[in-house]
Amino acid sequence: MTMEPALKLVGDYGARYESAIDLKRVEEMHRPLYDEETAISADGNVAAAIPFLQWWRAIIMAGFPITPATKWLEHLAAQTMGGHFDVEVQGRKVRTKRVKQLEAEHAAADWLAGAAAASRDLVFGTATSSVGLDHMTETLRSLGASGLGNVVVVNVCRATANYPLCIEGDPSDTLGHRDDGFIQVMCRGKQQIYDTLLQLPAVGMHPDVMTPTMPAYFGIKDSHRSARLIVEPDQKVNAFLDEALALGQQGTHPPGLLDGDTSLGNCVTSAWFQSFKVGQKRRIQAALEVLPKVAALFQERFGRPGLQLFEQHRMDDAEVALVCLGPDAGTVLQLLPDLRRELEMRIGVVVLRLLTPFPSQAFAKALSNVNAVGVVNEAHHHGRGHLTLDVTEALSESGRHPPVESFFCGMGGADVSAETWRAIARATVQAARTGKVSQRWHIVHEGVEL
């Protein structure tokens, strides 16, 4: 006979029945994919899929395909159905890891809400893109407010609107969802994608944060191009996640639907609504404190840099800063020595990583000595650009008002060429010299203003 699971009251959450879900058993039944550090060739979608295969806490992944995120799902389906994750329990074959096919992205998001609520110790994720992310919106915003930090929605950036339909990468989807309440992190390069995935659940599930996460990388430019990827052994991956989760206060972890006597998703009147929003805001802001701690532990355990609020390149002596995100940063970083020489100005580059909550204060501090800023928006926006708004808001909070030139390029995954970066750098240097912006925004392609 099995023991009756013991009741433990958990604050306002109701009760948790401690042994109802035997997590140790779930861990024991995990079939490791990598026993040692292994270098492979992988595209971005595979790099984002592998952590779900390695975590014992990820037992089911939700799926609905959309270009360019499809291979994430295909890779997981092939791996989970290939027999590697099958175990025998009392003479029966059991698949310990599964892909759940849903009928639409909205259903995938609903499924994630239910699964993550069922057990808040396990990690549940999906990957999507563009209009797929939009189709999830109704539930994404519920998830953002839910406290279900064990949800990971991988967004493979793609131009959002269908007029015209374009399946190549541009971050208008991710940037259009900045108010959904997720911790949104942008990645570039396969290793950064993989490493980001390994760390994010530890941030999202931290008891001070309890906010779902949305790692993102560019469709095609990162999703469909392969590079060398160091995959860590499963044992190390899981030990890190356990250790990082333990950074949080113990004993406050709320019960799930399966192991608890609890409720989620109540309705309120205006008399109470705002107090829930105070909690939500406090939780997402806590990510600014928790993320560096998780990152430090990651660096200690794996020897590679952990999550950053943003990357800084030659910012120590910069007079001018170029702010951008995603894989096109690689081009300007290559060009940087030439640009500094050609334009006779000390140019630095900031590559944004944490998009929400936007790290305004740290950002303003990093830019406290520059005389002009050039912000590269790769997504359509009605005005000066999503990132321009974040950057100007951060600077205005600090009381400094250097001119901020706003650029649109790379929309729909268009190439952001060396000539385009040169034009961007030239206009920003000009703004530093004149002390003012030359126009409200520039749209640049192949170095030519459109």
């Binding site: 099995t2 009756e4 699971p5 009741l7 009251l9 109701g14 009760a15 029945y17 109802a20 879900i21 035997d22 997590l23 058993r25 779930v26 039944m29 037992i59 089911i60 175990v87 329990v89 009392q90 029966r92 059991v94 698949r95 310990t96 599964r98 759940k100 849903l102 009928e103 639409a104 909205h106 259903a107 609903d110 499924w111 994630l112 809400a113 239910g114 699964a115 609520a117 069922a118 057990s119 396990l122 109704e138 539930t139 519920s142 019960p255 799930g256 639907l257 399966l258 608890g260 006597d261 609890t262 409720s263 989620l264 998703g265 109540n266 309705c267 309120v268 109470w272």
Partner: protein, 334 residues
């Protein structure tokens, strides 16, 4: 069935899970249904309830009121008596219930869940299940998710103020379709069967033993999705006098508009509590008790008075009721 279902008496003596504190209208059939769901799930298994947005949600999970779900005022010591309750957007209750079942299935499979397999029950309005949520309802059924779904059929979007729903009877007045629309409502029973449900029923708690049997059978269905459509007279939306809820529940079946029905996949089903044609009460008897149909017919001094010029529309409603019974008989034999 793998094991015999409890008798009506055993069912009635079970511990309820729908408790004080809800804000449903007095006379709302949903409350009766929820009591029955509460009793049917008091079977020693952990219960998870998922709710889409509908009257039954906003009236039972209203913070800071007491949540009106649970067995007793505190969390029970016995795990098998405990409840997990979750609300998400309108159309989502089948999908979130399916997710809970999926997680439980893997945990059971690897030996990490040692308690009896949980009851997973989705509650939804008919708008949530058959208008905005038709996609999620049918696909959860198609995937053979091992959950029970109870759909409260009140033929209007009651929660938002009684707007038109595709489940509405012809000519039923609603706030967005004054005087109603002439089309037949969606064939909800047929859709659920066609999608592959393991068990499909329609039944009113007004037929108490029948409904208790259906609720027990739905919750104990283990080879796919069980769907129970519950005709739910809406006192505010249908505008009827207090005390008529059960009577309307009975007449809905007896007239052929919402007959009692149950069917297990692969077995012949049955259409119940509707007399043979000729012996059925005419639809007017049902309609005149509700002011949503007063533009067609009303009671004057105890007599049914049909509005001049609307005889054809009444005939159309009668024809729908008769065709509905025949259609359900065909589905029963499917």
């Amino acid at each position: 069935m793998a094991r015999p279902l409890p008798t009506f008496k055993e069912h009635a003596l079970r511990e309820d899970a729908f408790v004080e504190g809800h804000a449903l209208c007095p006379g709302c059939m949903e409350a009766v249904t929820f009591h029955e769901v509460g009793r049917a799930t008091d079977n020693g298994k952990k219960t998870v309830l998922t709710l889409g947005t509908f009257c039954g949600e906003v009236s039972t999970l209203m913070y800071p009121n007491l949540i009106s779900w649970g067995r007793g005022p505190q969390s029970p010591e016995l795990f098998g008596k405990s409840l997990g309750v979750m609300h998400n957007v309108f159309e989502s209750s089948p999908t979130i219930a399916e997710a809970v079942r999926d997680v439980a299935t893997v945990l059971e499979g690897v030996g990490a869940w040692k308690a009896p397999s949980p009851n997973v029950v989705a509650l939804s309005g008919d708008g949530g299940a058959l208008a905005i949520g038709l996609r999620s309802l049918l696909h959860t059924i198609q995937r053979r998710a091992r959950i029970a779904i109870f759909v409260q059929m009140n033929e209007v979007f009651a929660n938002t103020g009684f707007q038109f729903s595709p489940t509405a009877l012809p000519f039923a007045d609603s706030s967005t379709a004054p005087g109603g629309l002439p089309e037949d409502p969606i064939d909800h029973v047929g859709l659920a069967i066609a999608a592959g449900a393991a068990f499909v029923a329609q039944g009113s708690p007004a037929f108490a033993p029948f409904f208790a049997e259906v609720a027990e059978e739905a919750i104990n269905t283990s080879n796919g999705t069980a769907v129970v459509f519950v005709p739910s007279p809406c006192i505010a939306g249908w505008k009827f006098e207090e005390g008529l809820t059960a009577e309307l529940g009975k007449l809905a079946s007896q007239t052929g508009l919402f007959p009692c029905f149950r069917k297990r996949a692969g077995e012949p089903g049955e259409v119940k509590h509707v007399p043979e044609k000729g012996k059925r009460p005419p639809v007017e008897q049902y309609l005149v008790k509700q002011r949503r149909f007063e533009h067609l017919a009303r009671l004057v001094d105890g007599e049914i008075r049909v509005t001049p010029g609307r005889e054809g529309d009444l005939a159309k409603l009668q024809s729908y009721a008769d065709r509905n019974v025949e259609r359900l008989k065909k589905w029963a034999a499917f």
